[in-house]
């Protein structure tokens, strides 16, 4: 993610003291060099509430992940209940897609199933009704 120039933050309701010990006792053994991004503390879930991920009953955050562009605009959100973990590959794919669109100043968009290097579309009046000539649902399928 650093190669993509992305700043990552992990946020839970745990205190920064707990983050420190979890990192020292467990995470640093799982990840070589330790976790390469800050772990933030959101006691009481105030930040999680405004992001719509705070679970009042459990007093913790559910798995919400937000991609925010350099202008501070949320471009994507994925929210899962806690029992299923996230897919980093999909996160990377989305970040690359949004970066690609931004780099093209919106001239290119990424169709369904896009992967890096895959075909993009250039929206224009000429493309209306002709997308089928440029792209098919079978192309660049991510789900198998």
């Amino acid at each position: 993610m650093r190669e993509l120039g992305v700043q990552v933050f992990a946020v839970s309701t745990d205190s920064h003291f707990v983050h420190k010990i979890w990192h020292e006792d467990e995470l640093s053994h799982m990840v070589e060099g330790g976790i390469p991004y800050p772990m933030l503390s959101d006691p009481g879930g105030e930040i999680g509430r405004v992001y719509g991920v705070y679970d009042e009953a459990g007093g913790v955050h559910i798995r919400g992940r937000f991609i925010i562009d350099p202008d501070g605009v949320i471009q994507a959100a994925e929210i899962l209940t806690p029992t299923v973990g996230r897919n980093v590959e999909e996160l990377l794919r989305q970040v690359k897609a949004f970066q690609h669109v931004r780099a093209s100043n919106g001239a290119e968009v990424c169709p369904a199933g896009w992967r890096p290097g895959g075909k993009t579309l250039r929206p224009s009046p000429e493309l209306v009704g002709k997308v089928w000539r440029e792209w098919s649902p079978k192309a660049d399928l991510v789900l198998r």
Partner: protein, 83 residues
């Protein structure tokens, strides 16, 4: 003792940061802002400041300080959990 080390005390200035301009008629809504989901895809991310741990150090981070960069926020239930 640095603020980040004090027991049971909230680090000053952390939490959701309200947008600067607020029209008078929305004041009622503003009072309940932390009960309202403000984050919307396609809109500006709600700003906040939070205490953090990174590579052995405690430091406060404010989201708006990272304008100009892509940011990924990952919320999760808690440390020492299993998934």
């Amino acid at each position: 003792m640095p603020e980040a080390m004090s027991c049971g005390k909230r680090t000053p200035g952390v939490g959701v940061i309200a947008p600067a301009a607020r029209a008078p008629e929305t004041e009622q809504i503003a009072e309940r802002r932390s009960d309202v989901t403000l984050a919307r895809v396609g809109h500006e991310a709600p700003d906040f400041r939070a205490e953090g741990y990174f590579q052995g150090e405690f430091k406060a981070y404010q989201l708006s300080d990272f304008r100009g960069q892509w940011v990924v926020l990952c919320f999760y239930p808690g440390d020492f959990t299993f998934v």
